[in-house]
Point group: C2
Chain length 405, copies 2
Amino acid sequence: MKPVKFTIEKKLDGKLGRVGILETPHGKILTPSFVAVGTKGTVKSLTPELIKEAKTQVVLANTYHLYLQPGDEIVRDAGGLGKFMNWDGPTMTDSGGYQVFSLGVAYGKDMSKVLKVTDPSLMIPERFDDSDAPRLAKIGNDGVSFKSHLDGSLHYITPEKSIEIQHNLGADMIFAFDECTSPVEDERYQTEALDRTHAWAKRCLDYHKSKPNAETQALFGIVQGGRVEELRRKSAEIIGAMDFDGFGIGGSFAKEDMSTAVKWVNEVLPEEKPRHLLGIGEPEDLFMGVENGVDLFDCVTPTRLGRNGTIYTKSGKIHIENLEFRKDFSPIEADCECNTCKHYTRAYISHLFRGKEMLAGTLASTHNLYFLNKLVADMRQAILDGTFQELKEQFLAKYSPSKDS
Amino acid sequence: MKPVKFTIEKKLDGKLGRVGILETPHGKILTPSFVAVGTKGTVKSLTPELIKEAKTQVVLANTYHLYLQPGDEIVRDAGGLGKFMNWDGPTMTDSGGYQVFSLGVAYGKDMSKVLKVTDPSLMIPERFDDSDAPRLAKIGNDGVSFKSHLDGSLHYITPEKSIEIQHNLGADMIFAFDECTSPVEDERYQTEALDRTHAWAKRCLDYHKSKPNAETQALFGIVQGGRVEELRRKSAEIIGAMDFDGFGIGGSFAKEDMSTAVKWVNEVLPEEKPRHLLGIGEPEDLFMGVENGVDLFDCVTPTRLGRNGTIYTKSGKIHIENLEFRKDFSPIEADCECNTCKHYTRAYISHLFRGKEMLAGTLASTHNLYFLNKLVADMRQAILDGTFQELKEQFLAKYSPSKDS
């Protein structure tokens, strides 16, 4: 018995895109779907009721954070991630491997290397909904050692350990432990890291299959390979050939060639299994991903931007603290059906931000999360209706990705 | 037509206490009732849905804060306080006069005086749900001048101006502008300040009655007089004789003689009008107040303590970050019907506080607010049932006010 079942309902003509239903132990996910990030077992500033009202179907928590605090055994003893955080829908955890990238270091190298990532065209996936990051991570072929950002304690995570932690956390969908390389690494290092990711993927799968959890938790393998076509295709072949329940597409991309990289991978991956583009979620990227066969996305932007007062609208992002909104008694968007737009004005939300009130982040995050969930749901419907291209053109004609005042 | 109607349902045998119904333009309040403080037009960390789920009947906002930010005219243009903050139940605003006390200064004196209030037995009413306070306030017989804590701008508030602001804010119940003296002032100053408060009360009432708002907003006069019996009784006589819709009892008290002061006042005030004890709300004080004829209480403690991880239980306050709660998978209180206790464990709330997550304050504040609302509702029922004394004895036998780890 497989823990998840994926059914493709309809494909996008002439493209890799598709609409599907992903059945999990905690309910169905209509795909494509946006996944809300709940780093420490809470989607920042939102109650589960608000997460659900924002039409969220699935929540992803970060293994690295929950392992350190409160500890994966506490989450296990609480009945698993969903029960712990009072979220009765589907859940995911990442593998913790992302911290390798968030440092950009390899064995024997130091953190300074990550500071070289200054090219603004490089997409850095956003998979932690805060600035916490481990310190002094060192990568070996067997695993990664790092110091906790909380107390400096030393930890060592192997592929098996990552899966063991994720078994304790108990999410419906979990990820293989991978190395997400820094885009500034040279090709020799990229190749070496990719071999390591593939070897780790196999170890994760073997360990997972040896446990009863394989019946209730789906394991997704992660494709890496940076921006190099040969590496991406090779990784998709190797990972795609393993008996995973689904796949993650990891790594960093330049904005302009992300679609190419996603296409390379999805042309190779087995069609019948779900695909998750990790840490990507700006509106324009969601169109790109859906068109190119991505089923799931997660990103911290709706909540992180929301807490800073930056709010999605159909014409681009607005900053709600701007003077123009002080006396604006209209909702963020007149035709938006989110809880925030139904009940609150721009003037009120602007006031809450000026007053540094906690409800400010709650109302802005609710709208942002709904905005992305609704956008992906609209894409889904458009594929079913055969109008995806029109939706994409209409949306992108109005939406200005750079309008972030 | 009076804006509010107060009906006494039953009296407490041999005491001043009573149970009543206060009808307002936005619904009925069953009294005695606890009033949630929403300083800047938001009860900190709670959505209106959560405020309501915590059985809150009425919300009080602070005139001083809303006058400065966003400005009372913006709240007026938004449709008034309730509409602005999406709270459809009854609302109150205080008069802004409390800032005088929060400084403890009188005309020509400076702020240093307030620093002398170090006697822990002195109850300092808690009517701002944050540490914002005006600077350099100066009291004259005509009004108070002060500098905004936000931008240093100079403001001058007279009794008429306070009412004008409160008319703009549009709450169902508003308060006369008073001077709440520092407990360290001498009796000569107290007498002088009390005369001023009485003169201001009359000016507030005259101004209020001259406006159509008197039809829709109830004006409560405030009794002052510190800890001096003669002054308290005199103030209750003078204020009680004026045509107010209800009364506030203001000022600072020593914990041990607060009940005496409240009794002095309520023996004198006209029985048929509602009475609000300003800024007081610890469980033991609620019993005292209800027994001595108080109908309404407001206090920031449920939300302020909640944000700091201090949570009410029937045996006293607990600090949820303590190590003992890390693996405690029971709710805060097993028999509590609040949204937090129905869905979350001590372990999870403890985790959220350790992780500095915003949801931490939300869950703790929800429980604390419910705890006080429920406690006052229980007192109400006990008076109806003739069992108030038993309830009080049972509760206070278990509840340790000092247990605040």
